[in-house]
């Protein structure tokens, strides 16, 4: 594809001189505010509305997005974000509700939350779901807090101070466990790229509080020994935690509860198509089974006697993990997406995503090394090591072709890794074009690759200089 990204030497907002067009009729500072608590000067950009819009329009034209094209970042599930969801989220009857409003005034919003809780329960086979965590990592942290509090109440928190995590896990897993005050123990993968069950057995002990895994894992491979893993973890008296980042592979095919997981978080901004916003907001609801239901953050939404209500009465609740009920604007979009798709639609999402991945994997197999198992789920990890070209350089080649590159250098268990997730929002044509570009890159002159990209708003960015000569504000 012939691609040229817009290139503006766009001024900083503070360099505009047009002056704000905003005004309120009263603008004098009341004289009864003592001088000693007032600020002496306030420096902010002072820009007319027309310049604000032009500034951000130009910046937007220097930003790639799902609306622009394929965005196959592995484990990020950059699928198309349906516009009906945005339309619903912008209805003022939803967007102008105050979080402290009386339940009787916000029955509609509570209904959305209640129905979403119920739908997520069915999708995951969990018994109870809290929508409060505002991101996936925060869902993990919430799950970790639940595990900690459970063992505290059982008088075993001092003993059960270890969380086991496979070496291929997302970085958030060990970070969340450590934040919750646990030691983390890394479990190696076997030659299939899945959890080494013998190593797991050796690591499990009376100190183990939980095993955190994602299934399929970050190599896009299903952990076929999951039932045995669940049995071993439970036998050791620990909990099994499901990192829901890769849920897009399994909708309707299996469910964390069915596989034996006790705790699950969802990434609504991945699986359920809510926009990523250039890094956020997301939403990371948490589901639990059985006795852990009493530990969820409060409140949950209940439906009783024809009314939706907030229930803050959970006996062992860990309390609040964010200010209110979570990122409602994101929850609402996910609700819309699930309703619109229904059971068959969501099953079709996973089928298409998995078909697309396997199709792409086979196309790339003669050019790139594809470590581990043959059958992929939502993503495939390829290594460029055999091509003599660095994954980073190949990524920059793709930029010049107008395609966002895959996640590079992750998982850490694969050298020169490119982790690719095309999702269901890609036609065969899209995948063919993408695969052809990847294949061309593998035989491109390595010296030439280092000079790319050239068709983007800026050329190769000097990250070393950014870290050395820190400039973090104007």
């Amino acid at each position: 594809m012939e691609f040229r990204q817009a290139r503006y030497a766009e001024r900083m907002l503070k360099e505009y001189s047009s002056g704000s067009s905003f005004f309120l009729h009263q603008d004098e500072i009341p004289d009864w505010i003592p001088a000693e608590i007032r600020r002496s000067s306030l420096i902010l950009p002072d820009v007319s509305e027309y310049d604000v819009i032009r500034h951000f329009t130009r910046l937007s034209q220097m930003n790639y997005s799902v609306d622009t094209g394929l965005y196959p970042l592995g484990s990020c599930t950059m699928k198309f974000n349906p516009k009906y969801a945005d339309k619903i989220a912008s209805m003022p009857e939803f967007s102008e509700m105050h979080p402290l409003a009386d339940e009787s005034l916000v029955q509609g919003s509570l209904q959305v939350m209640y129905e979403l809780q119920e739908m997520l329960k069915e999708i995951s086979h969990m018994d109870e779901v809290s929508l409060q965590p505002p991101a996936g990592a925060h869902g993990e942290f919430t799950g970790i807090r639940i595990v900690k509090k459970y063992f505290q109440d059982a008088g075993a928190a001092d003993v059960r101070d270890e969380i086991l995590i496979p070496d291929s896990a997302h970085g958030t897993n060990p970070a969340s466990a450590a934040m919750g005050g646990f030691k983390t123990i890394e479990i190696p993968s076997n030659s299939n790229g899945t959890v080494d069950v013998e190593a797991l057995k050796a690591a499990l002990s009376e100190r183990t509080a939980a095993l955190m895994i994602t299934n399929p894992n970050t190599l896009g491979i299903f952990e076929t020994e999951i039932e045995e893993i669940a049995r071993l973890v439970h036998e050791a008296g620990a909990f099994l935690y499901y990192d829901g980042a890769n849920f897009n592979a399994i909708l309707g095919k299996t469910a964390p509860g069915k596989m034996g997981f006790d705790i699950t978080h969802f990434n609504l901004h991945k699986t359920f198509a809510t926009p990523h916003g250039g890094g956020g907001p997301g939403a990371g609801p948490v589901g639990v089974r059985g006795k852990l239901a009493e530990y969820l953050p409060v409140p949950l939404v209940r439906y009783r006697d024809g009314k939706y209500m907030l229930d803050g009465s959970l006996k062992h609740s860990i309390g609040k993990v964010s200010a209110y009920f979570g990122n409602f604007g994101i929850l609402l979009r996910a609700w819309a997406y699930i309703k619109r798709n229904g059971s068959e639609g969501l099953e079709n999402v996973s089928e298409t995503a998995v078909l697309n991945t396997n199709y792409l994997a086979k196309k790339l197999a003669s050019t790139y090394l594809i470590p581990k198992g043959k059958l992929k789920k939502h993503e495939v990890v390829v290594s460029s090591e055999n091509t003599g070209r660095r994954a980073l350089d190949i990524a920059k080649y793709l930029l010049d072709e107008g395609i966002h590159p895959p996640t590079v250098y992750f998982p850490l268990t694969v050298h020169e890794a490119m982790m690719i997730e095309v999702t269901e929002s890609a036609s065969r044509d899209d995948i063919d074009t993408f695969a052809e570009a990847l294949i061309r890159a593998a035989s491109e002159d390595p010296e030439k690759l280092k000079k790319l990209p050239q068709n983007t708003a800026v050329g190769r960015v000097d990250e070393v200089k950014a870290a050395r000569d820190l400039k973090l504000k104007w």
């Binding site: 509305e49 910046l59 790639y64 997005s65 945005d86 942290f141």
Partner: protein, 440 residues
């Protein structure tokens, strides 16, 4: 996907059905499809959503709710900016060359919040105010010695609960210091007595959770010993008030919802997170830096990533990955649109409205503001009415507000009800409130 595409792709894979792609899932773990109902047409979905939304009644009512989330005037340009698909549907800018737009916007956001607060560095966002406060408390622990953190005896319960969760994994103790109910401000004698060599952090709120501006926060730096001063501020109040960086704050955090973000029943909001330069490498969250490209042109990139979870794993400064980037863009476009004069008038009108509210209650002899301090948005009024009677009078007049202090504060030292104002509150709104509460 078209069936032509899928059958061609299955052929290429030498497979008969897509089901074969799921043959690696053990039989016992297979589920028999989903049971969440059939999909619906777009138009039916929109009708259904409209029907559900119409069960919300608060939007037509006069609003006096606040206490952490505020109905402020949002210039229309802000909604236009955050609706731009190139911002809304982008991921974290991991590939800087093709993501300069978002990177520059977030760099500008870091700059304006640093200017607003007079702090050295601002990260590119946390989830919301309380989670930013939780992260600040953890950061203070990393940056100092000791195992005690001082917190106000009176604060919002949800805010306290969030900090408790953030600190639960650390061997630390939370020590409350006294907020004087007669002033609404910090009891300086009490806090001074509680600051010891073991204190690693001091959480101070300005305005306090009783709603008043607290000049005592400005005196803490001189008595804080080894502790880091964490100031929880109101960003709009900084249109007039002395910024946290000018009174020795080490970490300044707050809720950015007021800066152009819709109420949305509590989220997505924006955690504002700024700090002094010396703590940079111990700080959580993503940070954008300015650099150059291969041609020497100005360029932006995510920097200091070795602090973050995807590189440092269990030794990362925080687990945060997805943040609230788009809300940071909202706040940036809001501040650029209103400008320094606009923010000053928004703060000024908020002060004037809270004064008018107090005067109106007292003139009508139905309520009293019982503190010496100056209220900003949240005005605590003592009434003769019990909660049920108040709630029914407000309900009859379609007024949302009058939250009992005992419902949201950690300690009910004052009683009373909160009525919150902003620049969007009109004199007529206040008169309607007085009439309703007075039973007229």
């Amino acid at each position: 996907m078209s069936s032509k595409d899928s059958s061609g792709m299955l052929n290429f894979l030498s497979l008969d059905t897509v089901e074969a792609l799921f043959s690696d899932i053990p039989k016992n773990s297979r589920t028999d499809g989903l049971k969440i109902g059939h999909g619906i047409e777009e138009n039916d979905l929109l009708l259904q959503a409209a029907a559900v939304s119409s069960k919300n009644h608060a939007s037509g009512c006069i609003n006096f709710l606040g206490n952490g989330a505020y109905r402020r005037i949002i210039p229309s340009v802000v909604d236009t900016v955050v609706s731009m698909g190139e911002f809304q549907t982008a991921y974290t800018p991991y590939q800087p060359e093709i993501s300069q737009g978002m990177l520059q916007a977030l760099f500008e956001y870091q700059s304006v919040i640093s200017d607003l607060t007079a702090m050295d560095v601002t990260n590119s966002s946390m989830y919301d105010g309380p989670t930013a406060l939780g992260e600040a408390a953890r950061m203070a622990y990393r940056c100092s010695n000791g195992d005690e953190i001082l917190i106000p005896s009176i604060m919002y319960r949800n805010r306290l609960s969030v900090i408790e969760n953030y600190l639960a994994g650390l061997p630390v103790k939370m020590v409350p210091y006294r907020i004087d109910p007669s002033t609404g401000q910090i009891d300086m004698q009490d806090i001074e007595a509680k600051i010891t060599d073991h204190t690693f952090g001091i959480v101070a709120e300005n305005p306090s959770s009783l709603g008043v501006i607290d000049p005592n926060v400005m005196k803490i730096a001189s008595i804080k010993k080894n502790a880091l001063l964490i100031t929880y501020y109101d960003p709009v109040s900084l249109g007039i008030l002395k910024p946290p960086g000018e009174y020795g704050t080490d970490i300044a955090v707050g809720e950015g919802q007021q800066l152009g973000i819709h109420l949305n029943l509590g989220g997505p909001y924006l955690g504002l997170f700024s700090f002094a330069n010396e703590y940079l490498r111990k700080s959580p969250g993503r940070i954008m830096g300015q650099t150059t490209d291969s041609q020497g042109r100005r360029a932006f990139v995510m920097t200091l990533q070795t602090r973050e979870q995807h590189i440092r794993r269990d030794r990362a400064m925080s687990n945060i990955c997805s943040n609230q980037a788009l809300m940071a863009v909202a706040a940036l476009s809001y501040l650029a649109t209103v400008g320094p004069g606009g923010l000053r008038s928004v703060a000024a009108r908020t002060f004037s409205n809270s004064k008018l509210l107090v005067n109106s209650f007292e003139r009508a002899k139905i309520g009293k503001f019982g503190m010496k301090g100056i209220p900003f948005s949240d005005v605590l009024i003592n009434l003769q009415l019990d909660e049920k009677a108040l709630s029914s009078r407000l309900h009859d007049s379609c007024i949302a507000g009058g939250i009992a202090a005992s419902r949201i504060l950690t300690t009910d030292a004052k009683g009373g009800y909160f009525f919150s104002v902003t620049e969007s509150t009109t004199h007529e709104n206040i008169q309607s409130l007085i009439n309703a509460v007075g039973g007229n």
